[in-house]
Subunit: 407 residues, 2 copies
């Protein structure tokens, strides 16, 4: 008997009716003969409601307590889904993160999974139970509750799939799969039947909100195929895996974008060893995630260093960087918070020249100014003005012929 | 340094403002030099809301899942109270039932505490933390979450006080203490400064909703003084303990009542051994709590057997009893669901004749018909019509001079 791990997002379990709908989907999978482990997120806005409560009693809730508080959201949805399954006549049991053996480090609010002690899950499966696991949470060796941070429930699902040797991890939300671009920006965007881990990683890292890169990385590491599909329809979704057809590899796969980009440039930095670490170590210690980093060529031992952060972290980042800039003798710090980014992604790009040229020409024809450029083997990213992101995505989607249905 | 256990009920932590108010009370106790462990109930209607959710997905939620679901209510309030304390500059930590070492049997929804493994609590106290424990919940040896049923959080608090050798357990709710009668029925009711465990047990068992008898029993067993007081005022409350002044012992202490009484009479039961167990064992197995049991004297080896249950359990109890009544050759089963009970309680009664006579005379003068009578050494209880309970309580309160302030 094969094992499959399902994961349902918050909108899929937002109320009693949807929970029953999810239960029916799980029963269908069970009746196809698979053992089923299900990971659930908290219902709808439950997590946001709990966070709001926390800020009503404290200006700065401690991350340990916040983790315990937030973990209740997934416990609630896991028990309700279990009750719904039982009520439909199917043996089921809910397990919280601790019971499911999700052992993490003690970095509250963004814990990393150290290991999965899956004995309890296996025992319950052997008894014939459908096992419903509260996502997003784990436990330290010291029995303290942690949460996994962004993408947490996806990560729980893929980690469990790996630990249990599942044939696949099926991730259901309110979206139909991975598209060549965000359908809200590009109505002609096409759903991809499949995508490679690498391509998905680049898509996720560079703006696609559909699945968090952590889960994709974990899937690649343990070679767990991840199906991304809707819990509201029976459409086939997109399979993220390692064996994408050769033909499909030979072209651009999608256009990703992100409206949430702010830029800081440290101008006139003396070009000597240790400068980058002098700036980026304190930023990391302040918990600020730096995204793109670009250092221009040095002229007369003076260079400019530019990096991007999320807009919400710009003020804090400036507070950290300005005194450092002064102490290292830089001329000034300037920032711009009205930026976005657009990326073209596809493993076909790594052996085929001309993709970058086509991207730059397209943006130029649209009179979109490129502020920064970064590339990987399978991705080209341009930082542009926020109010031109939509135009850029649409133009690039056309230019790379992503609106043509796959044959 | 002495240790005190506080317990706060659901209304005391019903919203952010009240949680902060509770935090300030705890800080005052801490600043008087005590170590403080706090047990909290779920916020306001949180438990009812969770139960309603469960019944939206299942007609008959399993008790294991319901326990996990309900346990989240107390986890939420414990983390919020901890955050509020931390925000006021006081080190604090929340612990769930498992972390606090509340080990129970696996009778879901009404688990019994087997032992308290208090190492973690002690460790956190030694670090200088105020320890906030989620009440009402425990964990089995198999790591499954249980809830303790009615009076659960009170029981958690007294059990922790016993395990930690606390000097007292202070239980704060929205009531000012134990009164000679329910002040909603008897405006002249007096708050008692103190009451013995036994008297309190009788009061609680016979209708006073202020504290659950389980917690009182546990307090008596481990000799933990329990203070019952309001979290909204600084009034002194009522101390439940073992050393009540001799003078105070020598009179009636209070009138308890209960509107929730239904009666079943099995009429014409052959009076032979085994009849009682034939009826009451199946009732217990069906989870029905039987309260008062009265068997009238046998006439020609035929007797009537009467017992009372909560009104909500009457229909189910009749379903269980009717076939048994037929099989043992009883004539019929009759029920009445419009009853209540009234009790006069006081350890002074055990050595002083005349209390029962005074009670019956008082009810007679009010033209209140007595349906059943039961007594203990320190209590006399009459089952009467529900719509006469209020009159009875008021008349008895006067007749036993409970409206006279203690000097």
């Amino acid at each position: 008997m094969a094992l499959v791990v399902h994961k349902y997002g918050g909108t899929s379990v937002a109320d009693a009716g949807r929970i029953k709908n999810v239960a029916r989907r799980i029963i269908k999978a069970r009746e196809r003969g698979d053992q089923v482990v299900v990971v659930v997120s908290a219902m709808g806005d439950a997590t946001d409601d709990l966070i709001a409560l926390a800020y009503q009693v404290s200006e700065k809730p401690s991350s340990r307590e916040l983790d315990v508080l937030l973990s209740t959201g997934e416990i609630v949805s896991s028990t309700l889904l279990t009750m719904a399954l039982q009520n439909m006549g199917h043996p089921a049991i809910s397990l919280n993160g601790a019971q499911a053996g999700i052992v993490t480090d003690s970095s509250y609010s963004r814990a990393r999974i150290l290991k999965v002690e899956s004995q309890r899950v296996v025992k319950e499966l052997d008894k014939g139970n459908i096992v419903i696991v509260a996502g997003f949470q784990g436990i330290t060796d010291g029995m303290d509750v942690t949460t996994l941070g962004r993408g947490g429930s996806d990560t729980t699902a893929v980690a469990l799939a790996a630990a249990l040797g599942a044939r696949a991890c099926e991730r259901y939300t309110d979206v139909e799969g991975i598209f060549t671009a965000d359908p809200r920006l590009v109505p002609e965007a096409q759903r991809l039947d499949e995508i490679s881990y690498e391509e998905m990683l680049e898509m996720a890292t560079y703006g696609s909100k559909v699945i968090h890169p952590r889960a994709v990385e974990l899937g690649e590491l343990y070679n767990i195929p991840i199906l991304v599909a809707s819990s509201f329809t029976d459409n086939p979704g997109t399979l993220i895996h390692g064996e994408v057809k050769v033909e499909a590899r030979n072209k651009a796969r999608g256009v990703a974008h992100d409206f949430d980009v702010a830029k800081i440039t440290v101008v006139g930095v003396p070009d000597r060893p240790g400068i980058a670490s002098a700036i980026f170590v304190p930023l990391a210690e302040a918990g600020i995630s730096v995204d793109t980093i670009v250092q221009n060529a040095s002229i007369e031992n003076i260079t400019d260093l530019t990096f991007t952060v999320a807009k919400s972290q710009l003020a804090r980042a400036m507070e950290v960087v300005q005194p450092i800039a002064r102490s290292i003798g830089a001329r000034e710090c300037v920032s711009d918070s009205r930026l976005g980014k657009v990326s073209v992604i596809g493993s076909g790009m790594q052996n085929a020249p001309g993709y970058a040229a086509r991207m730059f020409r397209t943006l130029s024809e649209e009179k979109i100014n490129i502020q920064l450029i970064t590339t990987s083997e399978i991705r080209i990213t341009c930082i542009i003005a926020e109010d031109r992101v939509k135009d850029a995505v649409q133009a690039l989607h056309r230019a790379f012929e992503l609106d043509v249905e796959e044959s």
